[in-house]
Symmetry: D3
C-alpha cells in the first residue's frame, strides 16, 4: 500500500507493522544519466518488493534529497547536511511508528546516505521508537555489487530497464571517456578525496557501457528478492534489546 | 526542466536562475482523499507553471513530508518537527543556489507548512543565500480561497481534475457527514485547538461534495496563472537589501 | 498577582493554575511612537485582564525582545532569532508549569511573534507540559482589527490612552507622510518583501493620525474583555489530547 | 536613553556606541522579598548609572528570566536553561551591535547568571560582534560584598531603599529564622548542593534584618559609581584582539 | 581501578558506584611548562586519591581538551567550545552511570573548565542521571590556593614533583620576566580581558620560581587528601532532590 | 613532538603544518583485553609514525572516548553520541589549524568511529578549516586486515606486543569460547544487529588465541609504515577544492 494514494482509513484497516521508506538523492550521475537516478531506483525497488512480498507492507513517499555534498561541483546536485538528513529521516520514521508501523526498512539508492542511515536506524532501535534497518540495493545484487561505480554499469543498467528514455544513449561514449576507474584516491586505505570532482572529470565512475537493460532486469530481480528476504527477517526478528552483561 | 530526469550537463547548459521547489505533506485528508493530496497538488501546479511560463525554470523534486503533527491522531499521517523541516528546506534551496539557481519559489500544498516556509525564505533572503518566496496554491485561487477546508471542496476538486481515481466517490457522503464546518475552535480570535482531531471526527473540514472535477480544472488554471505571475515578479525583483535607516 | 512584586510564599498560597505571560518586542514604531510599544501594550492588557477577571491569575514578567528582524534597518530595533525566542518562551512557561501554573495565555503585542508563539503553544500542549495559547491583542478588537498597521492607528491610539507622553504629537505629520498604506508587497498572495524597510520609508504602516486617545480607550476595553473571555475558556477547557483514530 | 520610550529616530540621532543591558531573574527571594528582586535591582542600577554618567548611554529593556533552576523548588521561580539564556542575551546584544551600539555592559542582578554572561561576553568579543562585559552589582559594593547571601542583607537593603513596599517587614523575623548562614554545602572547596532547597528552608541566605534602607542607599551609590567607572573603561578600551604569539 | 587497563569483567566484578573522571586541557603554560600540564596534574591527583582512599573507585580516562580559547593566541593551545565540552563530559559520565557508576567526582586541572563542569554536574544531578561534583585541585590546597596563577608557582611546583623533566629550568628566568602578576584586567570587579594574551606577554601569571618540587609534594598531598575527603562525602550523601516548597 | 610535553614556545619554533590526532574508545574488549585497547593502539601507532617519519609532526593528545554505544551492555564501556564526538574532534582539529597545523591525520583505533571521522574530515576540508583525513590502523595491515574482529586476533596481538601485561593470558580460553565468528547478523547485506551483545556473548569477535606478540610486532610495523606513507601524501597533496563543473 502506497501512502501517496491510500486514505487514512485504508491505513487504519490495514493490519501490519511493516513499512518501507525509500531514500534517494538528487545528484549528478554523469552526462548520460539523470539527477533523479537514486530516487528512481530506490523507489522502484521498494515498490517491487511491496508487490512481490506475501506480507502487507506500507510504502512511504520517497525522500528525494540526501547526503550528496561530495557532488556539489556538478550543476543541479542537491544536498542537505548529514545532520539534517538524519533528523528528517528519523522523525519521518518516528511518525510512522506512532501509528504502529514500527518495523521499517529504509530502502536506499545512494552510497553517501549509508553511514547516516545506519546512525538513524541505531538511534530509533536503541530508543525503542522503531526497529529500522537500512538496505542499499546495489550492495545486494550478488557478484554485480563489485561493479558498482557512480553512474556506472549498475545504475545505468537498472535505469535502462526501468526508464530507458532517461538514459542518453548518445552520450554514453562521452560518459565512458571522462569516467574514473574507481571511487576515491587511496593511500594506506585512507581516501584522500572528499569531492568526486577530485577524481572524476564528468562525475562518472565505472563504465556505463556495461549497463544494458538486460543486466538491469537481472539487478531488479536480485535486489527485489533480497529486499523481500530482508523484510521477512525484519518482520520476524526479536527486537528486544539485550540484557546488561555481568 | 525537471531535475528528476535532467542530467547535470543539461542543467549546466540551461541559462536561468529560477527554480521551483514543491513542498507537500503526507497526511490524512479524510476517508475519501489520499494521504498524498498535498504532494500531488503542489507538484502538479509547479509542473503546470513550469510549462506555462515563458521563462526557463528548473523544477526540483517534491519534498513529501512536512509540518503535519496536527493530524497525528489519523493513521498514516507523517510529519517532522518544524525545526527539521525548516532545515531540510533551507539546505535544499541553498544547494540549488550554489549552482546559481538563487531565485526560488517554494510551491506549497499544505497549510501547516506556511509559517515554517516564511521563516526559511526570510533567512535565505536576508543572508543573501537565495531569494526564496513561498507560494501556497489555495491562497491564490480568487474567491475560491475562502472555501478552503481540509480534504474539503478545493482539494477534492483539484484531485478530481488531476487524478480522479484517487478520490473515493463512494465515501464522499461519509466524508461530508463527519466533517467540521471550519478549522479550529476559536475564542477571542485565538484557536484553542492544536490537533485537528479536537474538532473534526474524520479529519475533513468543509464539504467535499462541492469538489467537482470542473471546479478542479478552474482551480488548476487559477493557481497556475498565479504562480506564473509570481515567478515573473521573482525573476525581476531587485533583491538587494535596504540600507540602514538614519 | 504580579510575580514581580509577589513572594514565593504568596504564590504558594495562591490557588490557581492560570498564568498570563506578556510578550512584546523592542522595535521601531515610526518617528512618533516608542521602541517599547509592543512591550507596553502587551503588559498593560495583561494587567487589565488580571484585574478585570473574576479568577485568580498569576502575571509573569514581560518578555521584552522578540522576533523583529524585519525591522533591523531601523536603529534601536532589537531581536533574537525565532528559534531562540521559541526556546526562551517555551522554557519560561515550562518553569511556571512546574509549579502547577499550567494553563497559560501568552499575551502578545507583536505580529512578528505570532507564528513562533503558535509553535511554542503547540509543543507545550502536545507534550503535556502546559496548555498554552497565544493571544494577540490587536486581533481581538472587533472591526478595528482591520485597521492594524505598524505604528499606525491602533498602536498609536492605545499608547495615547495608556502613556500619552510617549506619543510624539509633533511628529505625527511626518509619520503619516512617510508611512506605507499596507504591510508588504504582494503578488499572487505571496509577500515579496522580508524587511519592512522594503516598503515603508519611516517604518510606519497606516495613518497614526487616526489613533486618538478615545479610540485607544475603546481598544483597551475590547482587548481586555476579549482576553478575560479567553482566560475563562482556557480555564475550563478539557485539555486532554484526542484518541488515535481508527 | 531608554529604548522603551525612545523612538528609532531618537536612537539614530544619538551619537554613542555604549549600551547597558540589564539582566535579572524572576525567582524566590524568601518570604519577605519579591520574586522580581533581581530585575528591580539590575534595572535600577542601570538607570542610575545612565543618569550619573557624563556619557550618552542607551539602556535596553531588562531581560527578566535567567538561569535560576537552583531555586526551582520554590513556587513562582521561573528559569530557562543556561543555553537558551546565553542565546537570548547573545542575540539581543548582537542586534544592538548591528546599529553601532557595540560597547555593552550587561548589568546583572543574579548570581546564577554570572558564568553564562561571561561566556556570552567572551563569544561576542572574540567574534568581533560586540565588546560586552558583565557587571554584577553586588560584587562591586566594597566590603559589603562579603555579606551577599540570597534575599539577605544586601538585596533586602537595596529593595528597602528602592521600593520599600516590596519588603514585607512583618515577615522579616520568619525570613531570618529559616535562613541559611551561607550558600551551599562545601567539602574540599566543592559545593555538594545544586538546589538551594538543599541548604535553606525558606530560600533565604544571610540575615535580612541587616538590610536597612540606609544601607540600601549606600549600596545604591556604591554600585552606581562602580558601574559608571566601568562604562568609562569600556568606552575607552582598545578592544582589538591580541596578535598570535610566536 | 583504571578503565584503561581493566577489562569489562573486572568492572562487572567490582562493587562500587564511585568514579573519578579527570579533565584537563592542552594549553600553553608559559615557556617553561608543558601544554599538557592540566592533563598531568588532574590525572595524577585522581590516581593518587584512587589509591589512597579506602573505597573502591573506578578511574576513567582523562579528557584532554577543554575550554581554553582564552589562550588561543599561544601556539599549540587546543580547545573546544564550552557547549561541546559540556556535552562531551555529560555524555561520558552518563555512560558510566548506565553501569551503576553514578556517583562521580570530576577531577579538574583547568580554571577555564570550572563553570562548564558546574553546569554539567547540575544537569546530571537534577535529571537523576548521576550525582556528579567537580573538584579543582588548586582550589583545595589550603593557603597555597591564593598563589594560583597560570604556569605559576603551584602548577610549576606540582610538575616539578611529578615529572621534573617537563619543567624547563633554563627558561624559568624568562618565564618570570614575562609573567603577569595577576589574572585579568579588572575595573569595578569586572574583568575587561577575555584572552590571556591581553595581560600576559608569555602566558605566565605568577612567579614560577616559587614552584619548587618540595612545595609540589605538599600540594600533591593536600590535594589528594582533599579529594579523598570529597569522595567520602559524595559516597555518603543523600542525593535525592528536595521536595517542592509550600 | 608531543603536545603533552612540549611548551608553546617549542611549538612556535617548530616549522610544520602536520599533526596527528589519535582517537580511541574506552570500551569492552572481551574478558581478556582492556577497556583502553583502542586508546593504546591508536596512540602507539601515532607515536611510532611520528618517530619513524622524516617529517616534523605534532602529536596531539589522544581523545579517549568515542562512538561506542554498540557495546553499552558491557560494564565499563564509555561513549558519547556521534554528534558530540564529531563536534569534539572537529573543534579540537580546528584549534590546531588556528596555529597553522592544518594538515591532519586522525589516527583511529575503533571501528565505531570511522563514519563519524569521515564526516568530520569532509566538513573541515570543504570549509577550508583544515585538511583532515582519518586513518584506521587495522584497515592498513595488509592481509591481516581481513582477520579483524573485536578483541580478536589483531587487537590481542598488538597489545601483546605493546603492553603484554594488559592481555590476560589466563582468560584467553574463556574469551575464545564466548566469541562470535563475525561482526553482526546479516540478511541481504544488511546488518540486523545494532548492539554487539546481540551476537557475541562475551564481547569478543574472532579468535584472540591467534593474537601472538610476534604477530603484533608485524602489525605494528605494517600500520606504522602505512601511516608514514599517508602522512607523506597528506603533506604533499594539493588540497584546493575543485572548480565548479560546466
Amino acid at each position: 500500500m502506497k501512502l501517496r494514494s491510500a486514505t487514512w482509513t485504508d491505513v487504519a484497516d490495514c493490519e501490519t507493522d511493516l513499512a518501507l521508506v525509500p531514500v534517494g538523492s538528487t545528484e549528478q550521475h554523469g552526462p548520460h544519466a539523470p539527477l533523479g537516478t537514486d530516487v528512481i531506483t530506490a523507489e522502484t525497488i521498494a515498490d517491487a518488493a511491496t508487490e512481490r512480498s506475501d506480507r502487507e507492507i506500507v510504502r512511504a513517499p520517497t525522500i528525494p534529497i540526501g547526503v550528496a555534498e561530495e557532488h556539489r561541483q556538478f550543476p543541479g546536485t542537491m544536498w542537505v547536511s548529514a545532520e539534517t538528513f538524519r533528523n528528517y529521516v528519523h522523525e519521518s520514521i518516528a511518525s510512522l511508528a506512532s501509528h504502529g508501523l514500527d518495523r521499517v526498512v529504509i530502502v536506499n539508492g545512494h552510497g553517501g546516505n549509508v553511514a547516516a542511515l545506519r546512525e538513524v536506524g541505531a538511534r530509533l532501535t536503541r530508543d525503542g521508537t522503531a526497529y529500522a534497518v537500512p538496505f542499499t540495493w546495489f550492495d545486494a545484487v550478488g557478484d554485480h555489487s563489485s561493479d558498482m561505480g557512480h553512474g556506472g554499469p549498475l545504475e545505468t543498467a537498472l535505469l535502462a530497464h526501468l526508464e530507458p528514455d532517461l538514459v542518453r544513449e548518445d552520450r554514453l561514449e562521452e560518459a565512458r571517456a571522462g569516467a574514473a576507474d574507481g571511487w576515491g584516491e587511496w593511500v594506506s586505505h585512507a581516501n584522500l578525496a572528499y569531492d568526486s570532482a577530485e577524481f572524476t572529470e564528468n562525475g562518472v565512475v565505472g563504465d556505463p557501457g556495461e549497463g544494458s537493460a538486460d543486466r538491469g532486469a537481472e539487478l531488479y530481480d536480485l535486489a527485489t528478492d533480497a529486499l523481500v528476504r530482508l523484510v521477512d527477517a525484519v518482520a520476524e526478528r526479536d527486537v528486544s534489546r539485550p540484557d546488561q552483561r555481568g
